[in-house]
Amino acid sequence: MSLEAFFLWFSQFEYVQLLINEWPLYLSGLWTTLWLVALSLFLGLFIAVPAGIMNNSNNWAIKFPAWAFIYFFRGTPLLIQLFLIYYGAGQFLANNEHPIALAIWPWFQEAWFCALLAFTLNTGAYTAEIVRGSINTMPSGEIEAAKAYGLSRFKIMSRIVLPSSFRRALPAYSNEVIFMLHGSALAGVVTIVDLTGAARIVNSRYYAPFEAFITAGMLYMMTTFVIVFLFKKWEARWHKHLKPLKV
């Protein structure tokens, strides 16, 4: 069988037809998922590190806001948070003449912004908890040594505690990244065409749910593999000092 004949034979299958016709839709969906997740993870870090440090404080006034934030966003489902932001904005900010509402409604009008905000706050809360735990398990000897050297509290935080905690947090954080990737499948319910949204459109065109969703599932799985691989690389690099010595 020549190559051409093989392709002709191959492309007669309904599933292959579906892939040939719809791969641009899947790719654009994958792209939406990737930037949405990457951007929320990045922005989430800026919430997580301060919130994690604040939540470790002994001062109630500093601890409480961080604690309440983490408690709310870990205590409610991501879908509920997304609905609250998306439909809440539609209810209170739309058609509202208040200057603040007028200023922020153009952002909340966009579904991607609502999803980005919900994802960022959600991952921020979960990552803050990782940061807090990681700071808590800091060997006290290292901090005592730093104090003995006369380092300021800020220097101890930035030079000793955070870098070391960051290393110890890596495995737990890789889990959070994967959870966020999978959690982002909810973006489809507010009209965003992410990878799951693309699969739903394909399903509605072909009435072939298994084929439509297995394709999206494979793409999610491949993305997860890449994430796992990257974290393995980073861990190998930053956990070098923890490896047994080669003799």
């Binding site: 439909y87 904005a89 539609g90 209810q91 739309a94 058609n95 009008q109 579904a111 319910v189 009209t191 065409v193 949204g197 739903r200 459109i201 399903n203 509605s204 065109r205 009435y207 072939a208 749910p209």
Partner: protein, 256 residues
């Protein structure tokens, strides 16, 4: 070996005769989120034109019917997966769907229309619709129509019509395009609906909207199709259809 073949043949015969079954019990898939055709009351009860139609047809066919609620975008896959035997959910008889399922004769024909905030202009051209935000219900014939005809518009696809109305009210989308009777009932006649109106012409191009809405069934259930066709004809003739129609609409929903 011979015995085995005979046994297999017998099983096949039995299975074959069981297939041409007497329909005593028909499970009917409905949506329950598309007033006035079907909606769900706060207490969980489903009501609407489609529901009454299902009950009237079942009565006419002398079969016992069970109604099964199913989200719209999974309703054809669920039929094919044998979760129910027929769909009565204002489903347009389109060429695309005919590839997967069989349809009865039409039992209603209601045009689709755009709706928007009062005074919104509309032109059904690619250029005018450039970057316009149009809300549709996912997997409907309106979804296909808008996707095919206005490739440069931003098509927003919703799970239910109600979600699309919410976003039209908040201004996230410029137009919705849904069955005209559904828009009247779900948007225009509801509180706050007076700020909106139909815009543009009635749309019923058979290429996208088919020849009306029919009852969808699996392709091999030919006896069931014959039964439904006969029942539709019968209730049209004996006045039952008109009685149900007048309960919900002030115009002829059967079309011509």
């Amino acid at each position: 070996m011979k015995k085995l073949i005979i046994a297999a043949a017998m099983i096949l015969t039995v299975a074959g005769s069981a297939h041409a079954k007497e329909w005593k019990n028909v499970r009917i898939g409905i949506e329950g989120a598309y007033p006035p055709f079907s909606w769900t009351e706060p207490n969980g009860e489903v009501k609407g034109f489609d529901i009454d139609m299902a009950n009237a047809l079942c009565e006419e066919m002398k079969v016992k019917c069970t109604l099964v609620k199913q989200d719209w975008d999974g309703i054809i896959p669920a039929l094919l997966a044998r979760k129910f035997d027929a769909i009565i959910a204002t489903m347009d008889i389109t060429e695309e769907r005919k590839k997967k399922v069989a349809f009865s004769e039409k039992y209603q024909h209601i045009p689709a229309r755009f709706a928007a905030k009062k005074g919104t202009p509309i032109e059904l051209t690619t250029e005018f619709m450039f970057d316009k935000r149009i809300g549709v219900q996912r997997a409907t014939s309106m979804d296909t129509y808008v996707t095919d005809n206005f490739p440069k518009a931003q098509v927003k696809r919703y799970g239910t019509a109600d979600e699309a109305y919410l976003d039209l009210k908040s201004g996230r989308i410029d137009y919705v395009m849904i069955d005209s009777a559904a828009i009247s009932d779900g948007l225009l006649n509801k509180p706050g609906g007076d700020a909106f109106e139909f815009v543009g012409p009635k749309l019923n191009d058979p290429r996208w909207f088919g020849e009306g809405a029919g009852i969808a069934m699996r392709k091999n259930d030919t006896e069931l199709k014959a039964k439904f066709d006969a029942a539709i004809k019968a209730i049209r003739a004996n006045g039952k259809y008109k009685e149900l129609q007048d309960k919900y609409f002030d115009f002829d929903v059967y079309g011509d």
